[in-house]
């Protein structure tokens, strides 16, 4: 006890020296606090959707606690998954997304390679131009595009409006510029000597692309793939404008047009459909997340 009194009467140190580890602990606490806040903020809607999807219509409209399921039921899931209509939407979405991803990569990878590596007159301007086209919002483009496809139908007799495959022509206008831009950045970060070594080793431009650039730029390629898939999967405006018959609809539009009848909202099935629709991108993200991040941050540091 005596030592304690001596300490108290001793001269007090005015200056506080910050401790490195204490600073770090506080930084960690703050980051956990905000991360938790953010997680709650972004996870609440899907959780609410999940809860709602497990309720019957009667329970949804009943004045009970909306955050709790008293009589859980899978009827919404069973009804949707056994409805041909919903499976049709799902199938349309899937085939369009996969084909659009394939088209996007087939165009943007060689384009990015050419713009990043083959120095030709105007290549730098073209590269910027590619990015600028991405900046034009789709809400600005859908009317002229609609007019274009209508004219094509008038002139050639090939009916593209109200056919799901018209979207195969339209989505790449969104995905190709951005995917090309990602790939240009990634290819540009590959040292010049690598393609020179390949060329001296006897590779053609095409072999340099397929045997050296694509394997080396795989994270960028995967990032571009995920991006293209997500854009085509989640696109709403274009399919709403270009397709009207129920058998031509994709999922986001299909859910809205078939499950909302006038002012009657079939909330349970809407939530179920939205959850099921979110599943494929979610699964892809979960598996390829690391690549996706590596692809988006390419060129940030020399690696």
């Amino acid at each position: 006890m005596s030592t304690l009194t001596i300490d108290k009467s001793g001269p007090r140190r005015k200056v506080k020296y910050g401790s490195m580890s204490r600073d770090r602990v506080w930084a960690l606490r703050w980051s956990y606090f905000f991360l938790t806040l953010f997680a709650i903020f972004s996870l609440l809607p899907p959780i609410y959707m999940l809860i709602t999807s497990l309720k019957s219509s009667a329970e949804i409209s009943a004045a009970t606690n909306p955050w709790w399921v008293y009589h859980p039921t899978l009827s919404n899931y069973i009804e949707l998954l056994t409805s041909n209509q919903f499976l049709r939407f799902f199938w349309n979405s899937a085939i369009i997304s996969v084909v659009v991803v394939a088209i996007t990569m087939l165009i943007s990878v060689p384009a990015a390679f050419a713009l990043a590596r083959m120095k030709f007159w105007g290549s730098a301007t073209l590269a910027t131009g590619v990015f600028l086209t991405y900046l034009i919002p789709d809400s600005l483009l859908f009317i002229p595009l609609f007019k274009m496809f209508a004219l094509v139908g008038d002139w050639t007799g090939i009916q593209l409006i109200n056919r799901w495959y018209v979207l195969l022509f339209i989505y790449p206008t969104l995905t190709v510029p951005f995917a090309t831009w990602i790939m240009i950045g990634y290819f540009a970060s590959i040292p010049k000597e690598l393609d020179e070594a390949a060329i001296i080793d006897g590779a053609s431009w095409f072999q340099t692309l397929t045997r050296v650039f694509i394997p080396v730029a795989l994270p960028g390629l995967i990032a571009a793939t995920i991006f293209a898939f997500t854009v085509s999967w989640a696109q709403f405006l274009y399919p709403l404008v270009f397709t009207t018959s129920t058998d031509q609809l994709v999922m986001p539009v299909g859910i809205i047009t078939t499950l909302i009848k006038g002012d009657v909202f079939n909330w349970g099935q809407i939530m179920t459909g939205a959850l099921l629709g979110a599943a494929p991108p979610l699964i892809i993200y979960a598996f390829l997340m690391d690549y996706y991040i590596a692809g988006l941050t390419a060129g940030a540091t020399k690696g």
Binding site: E196, I199, I200, D201, G202, A203, P215, V216
Partner: protein, 369 residues
């Protein structure tokens, strides 16, 4: 294997002339080093030989055939880059065999060539690793292996040791020399390091501002430079330069440095300088090792003088001494036991048997044999 010939080769970028008409004949089996400061055109020259840069004018031939318009892959050359340029997604063996696989060599042949090259470079244990798992020195060995397995006509090295630390650089220098002694492929090697140039080359090509200053064996360049640039670039510490003039003193010839300081030129040298005008401003070049401490029994042509030392640098086997003479800073190499002290006067001696006299404006070394 083949000889390489450059005829009036010019490289022009928009308004800059990077290489200004160089002529160079490289013999079969020869190890040629292009050396010079950055921007002298040495890398551009190498890349033109490789076919990675178009040539603006002139001719390049490999093995007697003009290759101006031949793409790199058909020139039968192999190149080693400064940053190794290994394919990161391939193993060592795949890296080395890439060129052979592209040319559809039989599998057995590829395997035997890779094994042989790996043995030669002492990387047999690393054959299944990826470049990421290798150290800098190992990566450079793999890069050399990739060149060797192709068995090309010409090896091209573009500053291959610049990314390595000093100790490893010395070691790899010896490795490269050993490999060349074994495979005897014609080699063009670019470096900015004059020590590397001296130690590796059969002949060194000193380049400056897009032109060749001098071509010669390492010792010839060192002892008999043609220009002030070569004299100053080759050798470390660099050659000393100071203003001087020649004057007749009876039947003897003196090189006068200051009003008070003049040295008699040894007869052998004086004979070389008989056509140089007297009493005209010249530049005297003398290597640091030809300025030593004065010894009691000096050889003929070694003349003593006094200097106050500004800086001393003990190197162990010798001590470098720096002093000022007529406004020019000079460097000498003295015995570590010669008691060189900063601020103190020291009796030094200059060996005039190894002096060079240069034209003051053109920098040309006068009276070369």
């Amino acid at each position: 294997m083949a000889e390489v010939n450059l005829r009036k080769v010019v490289k022009r970028y928009d308004d800059v002339e990077a290489v200004r008409g160089i002529d160079l004949d490289i013999a079969d089996h020869e190890f040629i080093v292009l050396v010079g400061p950055s921007g002298c055109g040495k890398s551009t020259t190498l890349r033109m030989i490789a076919g990675l840069e178009d040539i603006t004018d002139g001719d390049i031939s490999i093995g007697g055939d003009v290759v101006n318009d031949v793409p790199p892959k058909d020139r039968d050359i192999a190149m080693v880059f400064q940053n190794y340029a290994l394919y990161p997604h391939m193993t060592v063996a795949e890296n080395m065999s890439f060129g052979l696989r592209l040319k559809h060599y039989p599998k057995a042949e590829i395997k035997s060539r890779v094994t042989e090259a790996a043995r030669l470079l002492d990387i047999t244990d690393l054959i299944d690793r990826k470049p990421k798992q290798l150290s800098g020195g190992q990566r450079q060995r793999v890069a050399m292996g990739r060149a060797i397995v192709r068995n090309p006509k010409v090896f091209l090295f573009d500053e291959p040791l610049s990314n390595l630390d000093a100790k490893l650089r010395v070691q790899m220098r010896i490795e490269i020399k050993k490999v060349h002694q074994k495979v005897r492929t014609t080699t063009v090697y670019v470096t900015h390091d004059q020590v590397e140039a001296m130690t590796l080359a059969d002949r060194v090509v000193v380049m400056n501002k897009g032109r060749i200053e001098q071509i010669g064996a390492p010792n010839e360049l060192y002892h008999n430079p043609a220009t002030r640039f070569v004299a100053g670039f080759i050798g470390s510490p660099a050659m000393n330069f100071l203003p001087c003039r020649l004057e007749e003193a009876g039947d003897k010839l003196n090189v006068r440095l200051t009003d008070r300081l003049a040295f008699p030129v040894p007869p052998l040298r004086a004979a070389r300088y008989k056509n140089i005008p007297r009493n005209e401003p010249l530049v005297m070049g003398i290597r640091p090792e030809h300025i030593t401490e004065a010894r009691p029994h000096a050889e003929p042509g070694v003349e003593p003088f006094d200097a106050v030392l500004d800086v001393t640098e003990p190197m162990g086997m010798e001590t470098l001494v720096y002093f000022t003479l007529e406004g020019a800073q000079l460097c000498g190499r003295v015995n570590p036991n010669a008691a060189a002290r900063v601020g103190a006067a020291m009796r030094l001696a200059v060996d005039l048997n190894n002096v060079h006299l240069l034209n003051e404006t053109s920098g040309v070394v006068l009276g070369r044999p």
